[in-house]
């Protein structure tokens, strides 16, 4: 029980790249993420977990990117966050720096990595040595 889909967004909330692992949460739900984040920031209620209806967003921020995982089940939150940080670690190893350009410059590799890192919401291999097959 973890993520339904993973998104990488820019600072404005535009989806740079994403991967739908389980198909049970509509990908369009990500459009609610940014407005929700702004609203929470204004109220001073910033929280790493936000929900909209029955979709829950778990997110972290790295340089000028947001990495967001969506789910509609009772996911293992600690697993999702460790995984998101792991993704950052892996991408940084591959691309030296992880920011908006790195995603666009390397989108093929990013897709491949997203394929290997997680399957149906279960994290798989995240050791970069093994990933570099």
């Amino acid at each position: 029980m973890s993520a339904s889909a993973i998104f990488v967004l820019d600072l404005k909330g535009k989806v740079l790249i994403c991967r739908n692992y389980k198909g049970d949460v509509d990908m369009a739900e990500i459009d609610h993420f940014m407005p929700l984040l702004m609203q929470h920031e204004e109220e001073g209620l910033l929280s790493p977990v936000m929900s909209h209806g029955n979709v829950h967003f778990m997110w972290i921020k790295h340089s000028n990117l947001y990495l967001v995982a969506t789910t509609n089940k009772n996911s293992n939150a600690s697993l999702v966050y460790s995984f998101l940080y792991k993704i950052v670690e892996v991408f940084t190893e591959y691309f030296k720096e992880l920011e908006e350009e790195s995603i666009q410059d390397n989108f093929v590799v990013v897709y491949e990595l997203l394929d290997e890192l997680m399957d149906f919401g279960f994290p798989q291999t995240t050791e970069s040595k093994i990933l570099q097959e």
Binding site: K22, Y81, S82, F120, F122, T126
Partner: protein, 811 residues
């Protein structure tokens, strides 16, 4: 050369161009084209029209290209199901490719294509891949079973994939085992009541062995799965705990939290006096502390979970106050959680440190945080009595800072302190009154007004102060208006001579000029009280107040138990059960902590052999046998048939006898009915630990009740049998005292009064701990709730509990 150039084209006829390129003969061109297609897809353009052309590129040796085509397929197959069929042949072929990477890729992708027609074709390749020689393929196939189950559960069951998946738990490769466990757990989530995983000691052993060899993620899957297992006895519980504890030092926070979850659950089954239990408690503290050095989001999840753990087992972290001190650069959500935990851990031993910290926090920049810090000072004062003096002086210092929101928050908090410790700190009232003008928030104003009203006799110019509030009466919030009304009435009752005019003014403001019905009604009540019966008014308005509770925001015990079973998940972050926020999970059984098995630690006295042996027996009161009337007059009940009764209690029952025999029949019956409740109580899970005293575990000792669960009320006495009186009730345990909570409904035509209750001798020695309080006469069609505290020191009748309920008629 980077791939970003593929994002730039926006020319017209782009689709047409791409189509041509996709059908080109040159491999390189094809690859470029597919990349462009994917790039367009990534930015959200619709390239579904190119489906057939992309599919044509599927047959290639180039792994990179194949992956991209598969990606495209996954995205668009649902919207083009008929076209997707075209791809099936290639999939099936790829599942038998000599390259294991390709086999795995094919299996993985096929599972992601949620088109029914394709799913049938998936079965054979999947079957083969589950038994593939390469572990990479097997692990992918394991996950694929879960995917397939999501699409078509019946198919998975019919094809026997579940059994194959269970076999994979014994696989030699730990990644395969981990994925099999994850897949089975996921499938089991949607069939909650079937014992899919079939965990038994052998499979548990395999899982524990794999635990040491898996990646961190595999360890999490296995630990989460273990958490759903209930060990058969305390020995098994201990052995599993021993094998899980090494995980507590893992670098990955999620592994640590899942391990904590397993240990917290299994700990319930260990006897509390066991050495190992104490060791385990000590082992849990350091990993929890280490979690607070992780990234902020993980700290947040950890803190929300630590909140639960502290409520459940405060002994684990009671010496770890410093760790929870707030750091300057913590995000606000971490700060607030740490603050909450600081208060929960506050005690006489560490209160000085805590207060010093809180005072620092109250000078920070973030307004929300400062307010919470000030409130925290108040909570500490209420929680730790010996610290109250220091808290009050800290609060006074803060008020002197004249920072507006600090002053207001401080006054609200001081009101609570006054409420908890009446008549102790009035010296500060003068200081408070000096700051009246700066109060503009309703809560602060209301708090101040309450203080003035409450201590009116000690404040010389109380009338002036309250009058100043009256001027803008209608602009005030309801909270303030109500408070002002009450305070002025209090003032009048304490100093009637000077305040006539004031009280008349406020009463007319409240009753005549106000729109608010609550305010008007309160005004009228006071008016009538004051004009008809000033003595009664004094009794009502100036009555003794109940003390406010010490612990605020405690999570209800049943919910707490359930949340402990979900440590690390969203439920533990939200502090809500999964049924509250996951769609379609309403029917799912709520998780419970395992009850204590009680082997070897029950204190069995010979008298209570029967009691210890009936864990789930509903506590029932034995009705008087045979002639009811006869028994009424013969209240010194017939001695039980079995030998060795414990001495009958001199409380409750004897008292009832006296009433009865002393012509107190009226008190028992009166104009209405008294019904001895021989209750068919809803199943009340009593702990197995022996000893009558421990039957209802009032001390929270060795015997762990199966959750302090209060079953819903069931009808004990239907109106038909009760001559118009319907009784529904339940047993609950509140604050260590057993309560019998009843709803009495009058379904007869006449008024019922003078209720009393009689407990006959019963197997559990239940007797009322206080008189039955039914204050008002019960009119027809009226219901009232009654709560009767019980004790277990009553006389014990040694026989199996019976379940009858009878009503004694009026005499």
């Amino acid at each position: 050369m980077t791939d970003s150039k593929y994002f730039t084209t926006t020319k017209k006829g782009e689709i047409f161009e791409l189509k041509a390129e996709l059908n080109s003969d040159k491999k390189e061109k094809k690859k470029e084209a597919v990349k462009k297609v994917i790039a367009s897809m990534t930015v959200g353009k619709d390239v579904s029209a190119l489906f057939p052309d992309v599919v044509n590129c599927m047959q290639t040796d180039n792994l990179e290209l194949k992956k991209l085509v598969y990606l495209y397929l996954m995205n668009y197959a649902k919207s083009q199901p008929d076209m997707a069929i075209m791809a099936v042949n290639t999939f099936v072929k790829d599942c038998e490719d000599p390259n294991p990477l390709i086999r795995a890729l094919a299996v993985r992708t096929m599972g992601c294509i949620r088109v029914d027609k394709i799913t049938e074709y998936l079965c054979e390749p999947l079957r083969k891949c589950l038994k593939d020689e390469d572990p990479y393929v097997r692990k992918t196939a394991a996950v694929c079973v879960a995917k397939l189950h999501d699409i078509n559960a019946q198919l998975v069951e019919d094809q026997g994939f579940l059994d194959t998946l269970k076999d994979l738990i014994s696989d030699s490769n730990p990644m395969v085992v981990a994925n099999a466990v994850a897949a089975l757990s996921e499938i089991a989530e949607s069939h909650p009541n079937s014992n899919l995983l079939d965990l038994n000691p052998q499979t548990i052993n395999k899982l524990l062995t794999a635990l040491n060899e898996c990646t961190e993620w595999g360890q999490i899957f296995i630990l989460d799965c273990l958490a759903n297992y209930t060990p058969r006895d305390d020995r098994e519980s201990q052995s599993i705990c021993e094998r899980v504890t090494p995980r507590l030092s893992h670098a990955n926070s999620a592994v640590v939290l899942s391990a904590v979850k397993v240990l917290m659950k299994f700990m319930e089954m260990l006897p509390k006096d066991l050495d190992y239990y104490g060791t385990l408690l000590k082992k849990l503290a350091p990993p929890l502390v280490t979690l607070l050095s992780a990234e902020p989001e993980l700290q947040y999840v950890a803190l929300r979970n630590i909140n639960l753990i502290v409520q459940r087992r405060p002994e684990i972290l009671k010496h770890e106050m410093k760790v929870f001190f707030v750091k300057y650069n913590d995000p606000i959500y971490v700060k607030l959680e740490k603050l909450d935990i600081m208060i929960r851990l506050a005690s006489q031993a560490n209160i000085a440190q805590v207060l010093a910290e809180l005072k620092e926090y109250a000078t920070e920049v973030d307004v929300d945080f400062v307010r919470k810090a000030v409130r925290a000072i108040g909570r500490c004062a209420i929680k730790v009595e010996q610290s109250a003096e220091r808290c009050v002086s800290t609060l006074l210092d803060l008020i002197q800072t004249k920072v507006n929101y600090v002053v207001q928050e401080a006054i609200v908090v001081i009101k609570d302190i006054f409420r908890k410790y009446p008549n102790k700190y009035e010296s500060v009232i003068a200081t408070l009154c000096e700051n009246l003008d700066s109060l503009d928030e309703p809560e602060a104003r209301a708090a101040m007004i309450w203080i003035v009203g409450e201590y009116a006799e000690r404040i010389d110019n109380a009338d002036e102060l309250l009058e100043s509030f009256l001027e803008g009466f209608h602009d005030e919030s309801t909270q303030v208006q109500l408070q002002l009304l009450t305070a002025i009435v209090k003032l009048f009752l304490k100093k009637p001579t000077e305040t006539q005019e004031l009280v008349q003014q406020v009463l007319s403001l409240a009753t005549q000029d106000s729109d608010n019905p609550d305010l008007r009604d309160r005004g009228y009540i006071y008016w009538r009280l004051l004009s008809t019966d000033p003595v009664a008014a004094k009794e009502v308005v100036l009555a003794e107040k109940p003390l406010i509770s010490e612990e605020t925001d405690l999570i209800e015990p049943t919910l707490l138990e359930e949340l402990i079973c979900h440590i690390g998940t969203l439920a533990s972050v939200y502090h809500k059960p999964p049924s509250a926020f996951v769609e379609g999970s309403r029917g799912v059984q709520h998780k419970r902590l395992p009850g204590s098995a009680g082997s070897g630690e029950s204190v069995e006295s010979p008298d209570t052999g029967s009691a210890a042996g009936v864990p789930d027996a509903p506590p029932a009161v034995i009705p008087s046998q045979g002639d009811l009337l006869g028994d009424l007059l013969n209240l010194d009940l017939t001695p039980p048939a079995t030998s060795g009764p414990p001495p009958p209690a001199t409380s409750g029952l004897q008292l009832g006898a006296m009433d009865l025999l002393g012509g107190g029949l009226d008190s028992l019956m009166g104009a209405g009915f008294g019904a001895p409740p021989a209750a068919t109580a809803a199943p009340f899970s009593a702990p197995v630990s022996g000893g009558l005293d421990d039957l209802f575990d009032l001390g929270g000792g060795v015997g762990m009740p199966m959750g302090a669960y209060s079953p819903p009320k069931t009808v004990w006495l239907p109106a038909m049998k009760g001559k118009g009186l319907e009784i529904s009730g339940t047993f609950a345990r509140r604050g260590g005292v057993i309560q019998m909570e009843m709803t009495l409904t009058n379904k007869a035509m006449s008024v019922m009064t003078d209720f009393a209750i009689q407990f006959n001798r019963n197997s559990f020695g239940l007797a009322p701990a206080g008189p039955l309080q039914v204050l008002t006469p019960l009119s027809p069609n009226q219901s009232i709730e009654v709560s009767l505290p019980l004790s277990t020191v009553g006389p014990v009748m040694k026989m199996d509990p019976l379940n009858n309920l009878q009503v004694k008629p009026t005499l």
